[in-house]
Symmetry: none
Subunit: 203 residues, 4 copies
């Protein structure tokens, strides 16, 4: 995440504790204030750190929040519930639970909005959040194929396209349900959604 001194460079090393304190303070501030009222000065104060220290490590609010939010999604896991449908339902519910957290809601959409005009930020989001969770789709398909619920993919190109489509559909639907429609993505809704998705994919 940060440069570990590129070799045996001289000088005082950066405090590792500071990084963690800053990211935690960022999430705390997101909960209390939301994206637009979050200020880096306030984050620094909460973390017990000077503003300079914060700017030495992150270029700005956007990058900081991406990192703070990305950590939240790392705890997602594909549960083994015995069937593809049940596995999907499980992971979608986990995803919905994270999105229901105020620190995720407030921060995620805001950085996505910023990313519409900032290629580097878009890349950072993709690397820190999107691609890291696409593994779940891949694992799910592999497990379903092992179970015989899905046939092996003959064409790797179209296989990748399908992964992207599924990811857009799952993440998009949950996000839209949660943030725009502002209705909970609860078990009943997830069941209905999963049914449509799997039937649509031809299983």
């Amino acid at each position: 995440m940060q440069t570990r001194s590129p070799a045996g460079r001289a000088g005082r090393p950066r405090s590792a504790a500071a990084d963690a304190a800053i990211l935690a303070a960022t999430r705390e501030a997101l909960v209390e204030l939301g994206w637009s009222k979050l200020t880096l000065g306030d984050v620094a104060t909460r973390a017990g750190v000077a503003k300079t220290t914060l700017y030495r490590r992150w270029a700005g609010k956007n990058e900081l929040v991406v990192d703070a939010v990305a950590e939240l999604f790392d705890e997602l896991e594909l549960p083994d519930r015995g069937s593809l449908a049940a596995d999907i339902e499980g992971v979608v519910l986990q995803f919905a639970a994270i999105l229901a957290l105020p620190e995720a809601k407030s921060g995620l959409m805001a950085v996505v909005a910023e990313a519409t005009r900032d290629e580097a930020l878009r890349e950072r989001i993709r690397a820190s959040v999107v691609d890291r969770q696409k593994r779940l789709v891949l694992e799910g398909r592999a497990r379903a194929q092992a179970r015989g619920e899905l046939p092996p993919e003959p064409d790797p190109r179209s296989a990748a396209r399908t992964v992207d489509l599924i990811f857009d559909m799952v993440a998009g639907a949950v996000v839209h349900r949660t943030l725009v429609s502002a209705e909970p993505a609860d078990e009943e809704w997830v069941r209905g959604f999963t049914r449509v998705l799997l039937q649509g994919l031809g299983t």
Copy 2:
């Protein structure tokens, strides 16, 4: 001491032209600057209007941008292409085209992000954007039922649930594809998505 206004009639009326100029200037500024660098002072200047005039009509940046962006979606129409699949593909492509506009991209996600902490704003978005476009789903279903592609809905409650689910899935997938995955929602993608959706819905 003259007339006591019979019912809010007295005084110079608000300029109707100003409203249109302000919303147009807002979209122009969104294109050039994006959400985060858009300032109300700049919008006022572009619109040839004083800042006070702007604040007299809108409470802040959020409300202004919701109105400015909402107008973009009013041009959506359900085309009659002869089949349900073709109709959906048509309207989804229109939706994707609007979302590809920088003024929509920049503004929409940002206000959604703000809305996570602002119930009134969420309601405004729902009223100005979401509910106004839900008509497309309803029209599409009615037309498909007239054509005999879909059976009439027996239970109105579950019918409403299905409309909501479809809306979340369509809007969510297109938004996620466009803004998060940052890939174009082109004809090929729309065809694939529509196939999965319709097959999932059991038609």
Copy 3:
């Protein structure tokens, strides 16, 4: 100051009343808010008059306040207490009492300050306030000469110079005592001041 309503036509009943109401409202606002926080909009509201009406009659805050304050000084009178010293003490005490009013304090010095850069305003102050009260000095001298306390003035030019000097010394000392030193110009102080003044003038 304003036109009287021509009797035959459908009426303008408020013209004359408005002037008085506005000047009274101005003094009231001076008391409550002081010069710097007094606004013409507020004065208009207090007077039950539209801002337009106010601007039709006065060019701005300065002119309005000069007129409002000038009225206060019109009640000054030279009392006949039997001796020059007693007459002076009496009128100086009256002057001090007016200057102790918040509406006079706040307004007078402020317009004098403005007048340092505005010849027309300076002239208006001179006409409305200074010259109108210089009569007191003239009357006092005439009365003292009638009493034989002062010799008749041989040279009218030097007589005018003396009047001006006395006026500057009296008004200046009372104003400075009241506003800058912020001590009351009470009977004891006035007695001391008058003694020095008269002795200085060689009586």
Copy 4:
């Protein structure tokens, strides 16, 4: 995380140059614009300083102008011209010369006007301007006593009262002559005034 600051030592120190630049810019702006059109933003720009820097050091326009004007009076000196009358004439002429400066005229009366409603400001004026110049009266009396022109003061209480009275009379008369009557306090006038004053004081 690091050093506990020993006692208000930490942080970047305030720029000493900024203070001088701001006060000079204030006087410059007073000359060009006068009190009422002077804006703190403009002063900051002239001083090559950010508005925040200005507000960090002064509470507002009033306090700033008091300090800016007070410096003007610091150059007053009691000249030694050999006699009490000549000394007084000398210092009054100096005082009149300063009051003739547009930056003094514009600013001084305005802050005095403001001070009528602001005890703290009145105190600041007294401390920065009035009391600092009262020394001139004290020095003048001491010198005159040394010369034998004045008897030693037996009662310190009445001595203080006399100093205050003299100060009010001198400052008041010059200010009134200069700002209200708007006539120059030239040598001739000063000579006449001084004669009356000294004769009044019984010398």
